[in-house]
């Protein structure tokens, strides 16, 4: 195989990595909000429930969570949910791995939603009470105060920790390997096994580095955009 063929082969895998990355963000960024509101709720049982949930999800290795999501339908309900989705999509559309990718996406979305919820909570709780009170005495509603006064200040505060998590996410996609999803490292391993080529495994690092470089630039721009005010 030529260098370009190997690059193409790895790129196929990195496409899967990017898919997991994008869908996870699309789901977990909004999903983190209700979890954050629950853990700030004044209704004690709800607050406790959401805190315990977040504690478990953050306390258990993500790889283990992938295994649990993937195997539990078969073990508990005797139904190979993700395996069957895999087969069905392959027969119908000729696309590999769909069921397993779905399992990974579910595990990732829940996991990252919990991490984001903690960031949101920290951001919201860090806003000075005086900002709410200033809005109140000016006759604004709770919703107006949140949207027009607090939200942008929260966003400014959460951008740095969010950027850390997002950068971690692209590297975490390698965990999909554990249930044989053909992400980039799995592809490199295939080359090692079938053609005795080790260097493509190291070469995968370049793909991550370029991606992380672009993310870093984007987040730098966002931070710069928000630097016009300080709170």
């Amino acid at each position: 195989m030529s260098f370009w063929e190997i690059t193409r082969f790895l790129l196929d895998g990195f496409g899967v990595s990017c898919l997991i990355f994008a869908v996870t963000l699309l789901v977990s960024i909004p999903l983190g909000l209700p979890i954050a509101f629950c853990s700030m709720s004044r209704f004690k049982p709800l607050k406790l429930l959401s805190k315990v949930f977040v504690w478990i999800i953050r306390g258990v290795p993500l790889m283990l969570q992938i295994f649990i999501i993937y195997y539990v339908p078969g073990l508990v309900f005797d139904y190979q949910l993700f395996g069957n989705v895999d087969k069905y999509i392959f027969l119908k559309f000729g696309i590999d791995d769909a069921g397993r990718i779905l399992a990974v996406l579910i595990a990732f979305a829940i996991n990252y939603a919990c991490y984001f919820s903690e960031i949101y909570r920290g951001g919201i709780e860090s806003i000075n009470r005086g900002q709410y009170e200033a809005g109140q005495v000016l006759g604004m509603t709770k919703g107006q105060i949140f949207r027009k006064v607090v939200l942008l200040q929260v966003i400014k505060r959460i951008v740095p920790p969010m950027s850390n998590e997002v950068i971690t996410l692209i590297k975490d996609t390698a965990l999909a390997n554990c249930i044989m999803v053909s992400e980039i490292i799995k592809q490199a391993n295939t080359l090692a096994a079938t053609r005795a080529l080790i260097w493509p495994l190291f070469y995968t690092g370049v793909f991550y580095l370029v991606f992380v470089g672009v993310l870093t630039l984007i987040f730098g721009q966002v931070e710069k955009k928000l630097s016009y005010f300080s709170s």
């Binding site: 005086g130 009170e133 200033a134 005495v137 000016l138 006759g139 604004m140």
Partner: protein, 261 residues
């Protein structure tokens, strides 16, 4: 008839009785200075007037009408409280400007949101907004900061921020404007510019309640002085009497003496 009449305000936080029955009244156009040592309940009183805290007991009359009654639970709920708040304004010790908005936008934000509730809003939006912006312009000019209209709060000095905060409160046209130690977070050289704004408001007969430790300012700008001591009104009289030799209240005399040292 008094514009504002407060009767029997009581407020506790847990076991701490902070207000133990506050009575006072305020004529339209008057400036009332509230003085008293730290912890005597001055901030809590202003917060009750602005419905940031709900008094446990007490009534409030505005223009002779019963305006608030703590024993009526309905009156302390959401939407009606928001309406009532609009009769009062509050200027905070630490300004609390909205950092992501320019000085001008800080003035326009709440009035524009409020205008959405007007029945003629959708048909007349342009004129309504133009009116609000004109008023914001006038107010910024009045506090001497029109040239800073595009500055963000972090680009303004403390004194300038407080002047914007005063203009922002005035933009909602409150009946009574309350100030909670408006200069105590400022360096001494910046208090003058803020006190000058208060003086001119007082001369223009804005109805004001000013919690302050600036005795010279209270003596000269206030019509009346309320001295609070451990949650009660220990003295209520004219500024001339309060700061004069004939002051009948020994504790007030001692308090003024301790501040002026």
């Amino acid at each position: 008839m008094a514009l504002l009449e407060v009767r029997g305000f009581k407020k506790s936080f847990g076991a701490t009785k902070v207000l133990k029955g506050i009575d006072f009244s305020l004529e339209k156009g008057q400036t009332l200075a509230i003085i008293g040592s730290s912890g005597s309940g001055k901030t809590t009183l202003l917060r009750c007037l602005n419905f940031l805290e709900t008094p446990d007991e007490g009534k409030m009359y505005l223009d002779g009408r019963l305006f608030f009654d703590a024993s009526d639970r309905k009156q302390t709920a959401g939407a009606s409280v928001r309406e009532k708040r609009l009769h009062f304004g509050l200027v905070f010790q630490n300004f609390n400007l909205f950092p992501q908005y320019s000085a001008f936008e800080n003035l326009c934000l709440a009035p524009k949101l409020r205008a959405r509730e007007r029945p003629d809003f959708s048909s007349n939006r342009r004129n309504i907004y133009a009116e609000i912006e004109k008023k914001a312009e006038d107010l910024l000019k009045k506090v001497g900061l029109w040239d800073k209209k595009d500055a963000y709060p972090c680009q303004l000095s403390g004194g300038q921020q407080q002047r914007v905060a005063i203009a922002r409160a005035l933009a909602m046209s409150p009946d009574v404007l309350c100030f909670d130690e408006p200069t105590s977070a400022l360096d001494p050289e910046l208090t003058v510019e803020v006190l000058n704004v208060l003086r001119s408001l007082s001369r223009e007969n804005m109805t004001m309640i000013v919690v302050t430790h600036e005795m010279a300012f209270a003596g000269e700008a206030a019509d009346r002085v309320l001295f609070m001591d451990e949650g009660v009104v220990a003295y209520d009289g004219t500024a001339a009497e309060a700061f004069g030799v004939s002051c009948p209240c020994e504790r007030l005399k001692a308090f003024i003496g301790s501040i002026e040292k």
